[in-house]
Symmetry: D2
Subunit: 424 residues, 4 copies
């Protein structure tokens, strides 16, 4: 491992203090529209209750930062280490994931008190001046909590979609941007060759985003926009959900076993398709990007269209130099408008997560972080595909060109869509 990739970016304390407060405040805002019951119920094993997200993110700060680094810190409730550990085997036993929804206690109010207790601890630690490693872990905790902010929204949407009353979370919520026109997508050409991808350690990144390294790309082209709902209706109308030859074998098995005939939240309405959303059930907007599809569906669509999904290196290479301006994006970190290879690409950031065909695998010379936080990403590098670009519910400041989101190919409850690619 070379020295550059080892260097960690240590955040500046006062900036970190603001960041921490903003992130923590945002989480509480997100649960404002929810009742105690809304925040407690778990609608499927893959989803977690909003209250659990609030508590788990606090547990992360308590366990990774306050216990090791704040002298005299008093744990809020020792039993929470069992209740709110997600998957850190090195930290001990935990509530089984499918049973997170039985935790009607602690109540939402007690969880808020837990958060305040942790916030006091972090404030004390920042005031006192703390080790560089503690600062790094606080920043990691902020990004970790931002991940859970998005999950909180995807999980609430899933819960509300199970309810025949189809309640709205709240309006207005951000939406993906529409395609600039109804015309066919343009395919922008890239030469290939040896390029560099991966995070360069200037600023925060998760361990799995590095080390920055060389990859060899063959010439390729990338669609200038996302696939739209209108195009997806054509795919449905052409019988794609009934044609096994369009699908990966595992995908076709899933289509049949779960009777998929359209994206996850779509339903037939009197005047065409409707879709459950954070605003409640809405007419499907033909010009908006399709979302809540699995990688199997994205792959089948690409085959049907005579194209393929992009590789994550292609995507990152093309995205290099494009300004990040998603709905939630942190305007303070905008880079100049695209002048590089990806000039002309639209909807790259903050609309829907774009499935790639790349398995979530370690980059060359990847080493997980030391200690418990080493369980963060590396152990999930099996059976998952990378998604890129962030969605309309990804928090501000949490989108990067090097960001590698990952989900199993059958996952549909995220804001996931696709952009086509092709070989040249």
């Amino acid at each position: 491992m070379d020295a550059a990739s080892e260097a960690r970016f240590t955040p500046e304390p006062s900036r970190l203090d603001s960041q921490y407060r903003a992130v923590r405040r945002k989480s509480l805002e997100l649960v404002e529209p929810l009742s105690d019951a809304d925040a407690t119920v778990q609608s499927m094993p893959d989803a977690s209750p909003a209250k659990w997200h609030l508590a788990h993110t606090s547990w992360f700060f308590e366990t990774m930062v306050l216990q090791p680094y704040l002298h005299g810190y008093r744990v809020f409730d020792v039993r929470y280490n069992y209740l709110f550990n997600s998957y850190y085997d090195s930290v001990g036993a935990r509530q089984p994931r499918p049973q997170r929804g039985v935790l009607t206690r602690p109540t939402l109010d007690v969880v808020r008190a837990y958060r305040a207790h942790v916030d006091d601890g972090i404030a004390a630690l920042l005031r006192a001046g703390s080790a560089a490693r503690a600062l790094e872990l606080i920043e990691l905790g902020c990004h970790h909590e931002q991940q859970h902010q998005e999950l909180l929204l995807t999980d609430i949407l899933h819960l509300f979609a199970q309810n025949p009353l189809q309640p709205a979370y709240k309006a207005p919520e951000p939406l993906p941007t529409q395609a600039a026109s109804g015309a066919a997508p343009q395919f922008l050409r890239f030469d290939g060759g040896i390029v560099e991808i991966g995070h360069d350690r200037r600023g925060f990144a998760f361990d799995s985003e590095g080390p920055r390294h060389r990859v060899l790309l063959e010439p390729f082209a990338l669609a200038d926009r996302l696939v739209t709902n209108r195009e997806w209706m054509d795919f449905i109308d052409d019988g794609a959900y009934r044609n096994p030859l369009l699908w990966l074998s595992d995908g076709w098995a899933r289509v049949q076993a779960q009777a998929w005939t359209m994206p996850l939240y779509w339903q037939h309405g009197e005047d065409g398709y409707r879709s459950m959303s954070l605003r409640g059930a809405q007419a499907v907007d033909p010009a908006a990007p399709v979302t809540h599809i699995s990688a199997y569906e994205a792959d089948a669509y690409a085959r049907w269209a005579g194209k393929r999904l992009p590789g994550e290196a292609e995507w990152e290479h093309a995205a290099d130099g494009i300004a990040i301006s998603g709905n939630f994006a942190d305007s303070g970190r905008l880079r100049p408008k695209p002048v590089g290879p990806g000039s002309g690409l639209q909807q790259m950031f903050g609309d829907v997560w774009e499935w790639t065909r790349s398995p979530f695998a370690p980059y060359p010379r990847f080493k997980p972080a030391a200690g418990a936080v080493g369980e963060y990403n590396g152990k999930f590098m099996s059976g998952q595909l990378v998604l890129r670009g962030g969605s309309c519910v990804t928090p501000a400041g949490h989108i990067r060109a090097s960001y590698r989101n990952f989900f199993p190919p059958e996952a549909r409850w995220q804001f996931s869509g696709l952009r086509l690619a092709e070989d040249l």
Copy 2:
């Protein structure tokens, strides 16, 4: 069917009005100690959320009484017929039972408003004077709601028992009475012969409690008290949960598949067994009756003890003439102290439901009630065993000698225990 068994007991309107108000008030009292989340979560498919119990019992009055009998009645929300129908196929489609817990909406407050709306309707109907059939159905609805009051408590206990925090519902809650002494149970002898059992239609009863009919009993004896926790510990200590020869084949399969080693809510504490209860985790009281056991366990215990479970006709015959004085029991309806065959029997009513060996089957010439309420009992006459006597959480006025509770033999989350019997 003879005329006697057809005769229905029509309640007197003013008495019914009091009864209705008392029952409805009691349901609301029961949810007082619960948060919105406590009242919403479903801890297993067999259990229902407290909020669902509140709404379903109201739906019953709305659907069975107000819609057919109250002119001009306005349904509170047409979608509730889907949400809160339990199993009445003749009334239409419904929320699948295992999905009752995703209904975070309507909120608990809205459900309270629903209840008030229905209460207004019933009050109007009673004021206006209504058909005898409507009065009968209102009384049925009161008893139906009392059933759900007990279920609400058993379901909350199950939910809280899944939570590692082991919260208490509230203290003090009623407890079963203790055995009068630690001495071995006495077996009271009964001659057998042709006796009559079943409800005589004087006062309210469910359809399955009749018709009253003759049964032939062989001479038998019945223990004067329930099996205690102390005796159950002896059963455990003798290796009973590891000895297949004590068990019915289905029971042994269940013991192994679910790793049963003690009653449902027992756990090993530092000073002996503890048990989760509505008061939270408590030391097991050796003198109290064992509870939260399946019929398989009750049957194995009886075999281990060289005895057997009673038949329901034996139990009812022995119970005839005994005063009902359970914790919740309606003191206004006490009958004189036992002077008949069962003199000397203790803990017959209102302690724990007593498993019998009798399958829940139709009595001779049983016909389900006409209309939708005919789905109430008859269609469950398969795969279930009868329990008798009521428990410490059975509501006042809801215990009768002829009452036939029923659950599948593997059910453990009810307040179920046993009394031994033997052939003479």
Copy 3:
């Protein structure tokens, strides 16, 4: 327990020798039409391979008779105690039931050698003169093997029915007798009162057939014949498989989960219904009794017809005095033509097993046999219903008026049908 019910009937050695040889020969004849593969494959967990039936019945003699009673007996292969024990927990661990079909070894030829080895042992024991208990156990083993002969046929039919080639086992095989006419069934009336049922211990019977005891019957009527395929088609045509109000709750759940629309082996042919049978796929004979139906279907049919299923005591009382003349029946044991209560009843024996509404439960004062054979019946007295009368594939001499066959209500792969009853 009174002395009479304890008395066992000890068979006479030379008669037993003939019986043993005949039964053992019959088993080998039954597998003649089968290949080694046919005899080895297990088509579902409830079914067993033919080879397993051959070996298990031999293991029964080896374990229950030869090891305890034949001095110097050498076990054929000690590992067979694991392989061919069915469910006797007191005899040790065993091959899990769903895994019986992986035993391609021992081969069918080795199993035949095992049978010959056991037969030599039994012959030696009978020659040497043996204890009365040994003789009783040999007779029990013969009846046990006859049970397995029927199961062997039902299991082969199930296996062949899974094969798209629908092979025939062999022709001709016995068939149920047809109804005497196409007219509506006549209902023969019985007065009720106190009657006696249960085996009287003159001749062989399984422990569960006794003790003989009194039961109280209300007046009832019994159809003079079985329900026919023609009548079942009317039931189907009337939408019965789509109407939840006709079904027990558990039955309706099964109809939906397994998409039942007709009896187990029926299929739609070009000229009406066809049914898989031991002769291969055949047109359904409208005049023959319906078979391969579950108790849930039988119960739904009875409800649809405005009748009910008989109780087992009603059936046995009515059957008393009727000659047993099924296809396989032992002509040497015919009793005179019916002169008693059931005069006029047809198809009582040896056509199809008739579902009753009676749970398989112990008769008053029933005690299982001592020793390992005590696991024979008693531990299955849970979750099963009694069937009466024997079927066209029940072996000769294995049908008795007191015989209590039992299966869970969802079982369909036996030759099971129904006869209607009604209250008077």
Copy 4:
């Protein structure tokens, strides 16, 4: 797609005739030690009966070659298209995979007749002179059948391993070669850079082995030998199967759910580990390569050893120029001893399949073959990892440096082991 990658290698008819006969003869030899029952039973959904392998490979020739290319060919039995289609959706419906084991008919003898019928057809086609495409498909069918020859052996081993009698398939069967010494493995260094991998279309290859293309490798080292059983025992003794920190998250879930504590066929014997094999149960040879492990276990071992699994491109690059001399290997196709990059590497071919960390994914510009055979590989490019090198039961002439075997990471019943790699 460039012209080079499109060029197909058309086999010479007389050479193909010999190849066809040899392959077909070999399949029949493989079932010689099997009974009809052995050849029919399916021991798990992932495995297929030997008889099914024999028939399916014949169906492949019948469907892909004889029906389209042999004028006047008469199909042996039209129903076999349903029975013996594996997964070709374009060819029609098929017997569900988990139900292959219920096909006791056709018998093994009839399947042999089916094979002879197909062989006659192919002979006629070759005599008559056939289209280049037909010749190519015959060669594909030969390689397809060779794949099934290995599967037939792995599936028989799985079947026999389920049998408590642990029968031997036959002795002697080929074994993996032992490590040359007990010394620690040496790591041979490779420079990395841009290299070419993939099949060059000189001679036969499956579509997924191409197109040949460039890859960028970072400097790496590869162990000169496979991991041995002795080393695996150290891994076990160090508690690896109980330490979640060594495992991928999915792998650890599998370890717990299936209680893995050692390789699939290992068991504890009196004198150390024994393993079920084609020779029956044998003592584990410490010097032999470990086999029957999942990719999860291989990955955990590598992490425990401070190394990693190789990428498939690293493996293929290192293997370039090494003579293929596995036990079954076709001696007529030996290349000179290694003089290239991989000089010093042992056990690269024909010992055990080596798990790589590479997902089975399309090479750049990969296009599946046209027609039904296009379903051969491409649709499985999801959820599988590549294995390289061939095993001791891979048929002669079926091992190539470019060969990409693939299985899901949890698969253990193949002859799969591992070789360590590391970054430089």
